[in-house]
Symmetry: C2
Subunit: 220 residues, 2 copies
């Protein structure tokens, strides 16, 4: 029999899907910081038993998105201003490293893709499309990571970036800060094209620092 090009149906484990959905909900603020998470509610909501739910919660807990309290359930971790102040320098150090490596190791193709993404991002900005902007923005940073050639880096940045992305959704960025970010990205791209690793690293670090300053007004 065998029909042409049948992709095998992929069956993911329930705990994985649950973890993904919960992670998404937490990052996008649908599950608010401090909110109590009831196993029972999740079971009913997703139509699964408690076993995969509990396994998913263990994962989220290790990622730092959820807090488990002995015998008294789980809750979404809070993100305080102090937490952010701590997280951003770390992210800065790691992005700087990623930048330095990317400047050295990126293929010409990757730099071309960066250019394309940059112009896409600018057009999203001009349309005032915040959601689209964030999406492209993510892709650029993802590309830098990929171009760094350091396979451990994405994994390490994941946890930090999860928290930072949460903050981004909690505090909407101002129009002026948005414009500034666009300019910064322009510089970042230039440094990359020039393969100026020191400057690229420095710019990424500064970019992060500015992001934190912008958040300060919303938080503190």
């Amino acid at each position: 029999m065998a029909m042409p090009t049948m992709a095998p149906i992929e069956r993911r484990a329930l705990h994985e899907e649950l973890a993904d959905k919960l992670r998404h909900a937490i990052i996008h603020g649908e599950l608010k910081p401090g909110a109590k998470i009831s196993e029972k509610v999740l079971c009913e909501q997703f139509g699964v038993s408690r076993t995969p739910v509990r396994e998913a919660l263990k994962i989220l807990s290790t990622e730092g998105l959820v807090q488990l309290m002995q015998n008294r359930g789980a809750s979404v971790t809070e993100v305080t201003w102090e937490d952010l102040q701590d997280a951003f320098p770390i992210m800065g150090a790691l992005e700087a490293l990623a930048g330095e490596l990317a400047a050295k190791n990126a293929t010409d193709d990757q730099i071309d893709r960066a250019k394309a993404l940059q112009s896409r991002m600018v057009s999203r900005f001009k349309k005032g499309d915040r959601k689209g902007y964030f999406q492209v923005n993510e892709e650029i940073h993802q590309l830098i990571l990929e171009a760094s050639g350091n396979s451990a880096l994405p994994r390490m940045m994941r946890t930090v970036s999860l928290q930072i992305r949460r903050a981004r959704y909690m505090a909407n960025l101002s129009k002026s800060r948005w414009a500034q970010a666009i300019d910064e990205h322009e510089e970042i791209l230039d440094a990359w094209v020039d393969r100026d690793s020191q400057r690229l690293g420095q710019l990424l670090k500064q970019h992060l620092a500015n992001k934190l300053t912008a958040l300060e007004k919303k938080f503190a």
Copy 2:
């Protein structure tokens, strides 16, 4: 009633204890890279049911010590030479950050403790007590982390440091490298006492880089 100073009885969850024991076993090489992990075996070994075992494995997997394959069990993640080459620069960047912050924020008491630990470490070295040396060494790096005042940093470094500690146990360090490491720690302490944040950061980064070079001979 109230008796004098009664500590509350602490009861830990099984999955936590299991995770601790497995983590220790993996880091210390008792569970070798690539080794298959059978849920059943762990159940029998620790006298618990599969539920907490599975939860512990989810945690270890998120930490990167264990690899889960859909429907075909878990195995201890391999640490290749490439992985280490990727992990060390990350650890270096984070340690450098920790050092810079520690130089700025450490209390006098913390620096005193560092001095004490340093002399303890030297005496362990003179006795040729490798295990004791590693222990004190860990404590010093822990102290730097604590002194950095960045509460997110330990959490972030945890995952990387887990892999690096594994490598340390896989390849025994040579006597000459050991002596060199002692010297480097002397310099590190000096920079800290002087509160020279730039230099401390740089030294820590270099210390890591040298560690990697030392490992290269064992691995490649």
